[in-house]
């Protein structure tokens, strides 16, 4: 919804508007929360049914014909496959709600432990990427909005298309070749958990992820800055001769941020997808590596199920928070 449409709304008396506004804010938060809870519930349901996609009997598939009846029964319990389907479902929901994501078949370690070990690495990678991506995308998007119809805007459009069409495993390998093997300014692979040493291992993968994040963020932000530039309040700000910084922050960026932030959930989803691949390219012991190496390649169903669920939940939570922040940043979205 553009401000233009907002301006056309019939104006209520001020007292009404305040009272109404307060009510709306609370209702909005409650309804968003309800919605997020429902979707979170849906995410759990899908994670539950994931295991049921295995053709035939998963236990049979894992044990072959060698399993003794006791072993089969133990596996059945470990996978949560004992009892009727509704029973299994309720038990799954119950244990997930208590924070229990099951046990790895291969290593007998709880999935929680695997996630607690690998998730921080991924979160660090994502944090570094976001900082780097914002530092690049903010100035780029403003310039691309202001100079939309010049060579710069055109180059921006084509370059972001090209970046988005370049798979991260390819750009990752090329940058690895350039920075780690040729220039030797980055480690080839590996990780140290201590800050700030870890940044040494994270900056190159984060740069690769920026190849996805910068075009996405900058494009969303650019189109919303373009909308803002058309607004009459930008014209009045120019006429008032405001300082460059004030003008850029308060009149161009802040009114344009809300739509971008409300897309944060979507962007985190894209980022997590790309991070899975990048972690494997750079041998980072993150959650993506765990998913592939400890989960998929070893047919460790509970690990896959648990990690995929965590991925979904991260997006649901980030989406909910980004809705709150964009409402706080832009009072317009409250009406």
């Amino acid at each position: 919804m553009s401000t233009h449409q907002m301006a056309k709304l019939p104006s209520r008396s001020r007292f009404d508007a305040v009272a109404f506004g307060m009510g709306i804010i609370q209702n909005r938060i409650v309804s968003r929360l309800l919605r997020s809870l429902l979707v979170g519930f849906g995410v759990m349901t899908i994670a539950f049914f994931l295991l049921r996609l295995v053709p035939g009997d998963p236990v049979q598939l894992l044990l072959g014909d060698t399993g003794t009846p006791e072993l089969v029964e133990a596996y059945r319990q470990m996978l949560g496959l004992d009892g009727t389907l509704p029973e299994q479902y309720l038990r799954y929901l119950g244990s997930v709600m208590q924070g229990d994501l099951g046990t790895s078949i291969n290593s007998s370690v709880s999935v929680n432990t695997i996630i607690a070990r690998s998730l921080p690495v991924t979160l660090w990678l994502i944090a570094v990427t976001i900082v780097l991506a914002l530092a690049l995308a903010l100035p780029l998007s403003i310039a691309a909005a202001i100079y939309q119809r010049t060579w710069f805007g055109h180059t921006f459009r084509v370059a972001s298309s090209i970046l988005l069409a370049t798979p991260v495993f390819y750009s990752g390998l090329l940058l690895l070749l350039l920075f780690a093997i040729q220039l030797k300014v980055a480690p080839v692979a590996g990780y140290r958990t201590t800050f700030p040493t870890n940044l040494n291992y994270l900056w190159l993968p984060a740069l690769v992820l920026c190849g996805v994040m910068v075009p996405i963020t900058a494009r969303v932000l650019q189109s919303s800055v373009i909308d803002t530039l058309d607004q009459e309040f930008v014209e009045t700000a120019v006429v008032r001769g405001l300082g460059r910084l004030t003008f850029t922050w308060r009149y161009l960026l802040r009114p344009s941020l809300a739509p971008t932030i409300s897309l944060l959930g979507y962007m985190i989803g894209q980022l997590l997808s790309a991070a899975v691949v990048v972690e494997l390219v750079f041998n980072l012991p993150g959650i993506g590596t765990s998913l592939i190496v400890e989960g998929v390649l070893l047919r460790d169903y509970p690990v896959v199920q648990g990690i995929v669920l965590v991925f979904g939940m991260i997006v649901v939570i980030v989406s909910f928070l980004s809705d709150l922040v964009s409402g706080w940043l832009d009072p317009r979205t409250q009406t």
């Binding site: 001020r14 508007a17 119809r149 014209e235 009045t236 006429v239 308060r250 009149y251």
Partner: protein
């Protein structure tokens, strides 16, 4: 008001200095730079405005009146347009394609702007106080505390009740009329010598329109500002302004004092505008609409741009370029047959 933000003492000297006009626009040409060439929007605009004088600019949409405002405000390039010729003399500065060093002396200090109320003139994501303080400190450096005090005084000047509360609010919490009052207060913060108001009452309720116009009119007189009021409504201009400039298809058609221009026009277009007015129409007499459509930007007819719709139009009108303004009686007119429109014509 004695030593308030708007006291006139410090400007008394400037106000009397000489007989020079405050603003003089001569043969202004403005165009959009498009990939395939230039699309002209203003071809010959002329306007002279004395200190403390109020001029109305009237014209249909597409006549170039908003672009005229933008050339005075220095926001043409934002809209992809630029001055192609002519002069915009504001005091000693020529604002036509002026460099940033000139604009920085004028912007936010000498020319105030009240935008169309239909558009969001207030920034929706920051409150009224921040915007007022910004406007005040951009014009005259001072502490934030002083600026806040002045913001309250300014809101009181534009007759906003509970000024302190309103300062904490956001534009979406204000009514259309209130928003426009805040815009006027923010423009006054700059102690402007010239106030440019582009259709300031278009989207407001009729009663609120009247209030805002009265406010602008009163403030202008009390504060000794010059005013450019753009409108498509002759009645609005008649109420507020001393003189009038009529624009059509990017050209000045007629200029003079409001009363003479309205009641004894020397251009058939001005007369047609007057005849199509709703507010002065006589009962029982059919309202006369102007025949035909106004030409679209860039496809103006040759000769006088009004000839296809003009009752006086003939082959002579079609030839050559758009006629420039010339003196006929007390008026400036661009009609080659202006003499035919005698005093008894109306």
């Amino acid at each position: 008001m004695q030593s308030g933000p708007l006291s006139l003492e410090n400007r008394a000297g400037e106000l009397q200095d000489n007989g020079q006009p405050l603003l003089q626009i001569r043969d202004l040409k403005v165009g959009f730079a498009k990939s395939h060439g230039i699309l002209p929007v203003i071809n010959t605009a002329n306007l002279t405005l004395g200190r403390r004088e109020a001029i109305g600019v009237v014209g249909e949409s597409g006549s170039g009146k908003t672009m005229l405002c933008r050339s005075v405000l220095g926001t043409l390039d934002r809209h992809g347009a630029r001055v192609l010729g002519g002069q915009i003399m504001f005091e000693a500065h020529d604002l036509a394609n002026a460099p940033e060093s000139v604009w920085s002396k004028v912007r936010g200090k000498q020319i105030g702007y009240v935008p169309q109320s239909s558009l969001a003139g207030l920034n929706p994501v920051i409150n009224v106080k921040t915007q007022m303080v910004e406007a005040i400190t951009a014009a005259r450096p001072m502490s934030v505390q002083d600026a806040e005090k002045e913001a309250v005084e300014l809101l009181e000047v534009v007759r906003i009740p509970r000024a302190k509360d309103v300062l904490r609010e956001y534009s979406y919490q204000l009514s259309g009329g209130m928003r426009q009052r805040v815009m006027i207060a923010a423009a006054l913060a700059q102690k402007p010598k010239l106030l440019v108001a582009d259709e300031p009452t278009t989207a407001l309720d009729v009663t609120v329109q009247k209030e805002i116009l009265t406010l602008i009119s009163r403030l202008r007189r009390e504060l000794g500002m010059a005013l450019i009021l753009v409108s498509h409504d002759l009645a609005v201009i008649e109420e507020v302004c001393d003189s009038l400039m009529v624009m059509y298809a990017g050209a000045s058609f007629e200029a003079g004092s409001v009363s003479v221009t309205v009641h004894a026009p020397r251009h058939p277009y001005t007369k047609a505008l007057h005849d199509s007015r709703v507010d002065t129409a006589e009962r029982g007499k059919p309202l006369e609409a102007i025949a035909g459509e106004p030409p679209t930007i860039g496809s103006w007819p040759s000769g006088c741009r009004f000839w296809p719709r003009c009752p006086l139009g003939d082959d002579k009108c079609r030839a050559g370029d758009q006629p420039t303004l010339r003196h006929v009686a007390q008026q400036l007119t661009a009609c080659i047959y202006a003499e035919r429109m005698g005093d008894g014509h109306d």
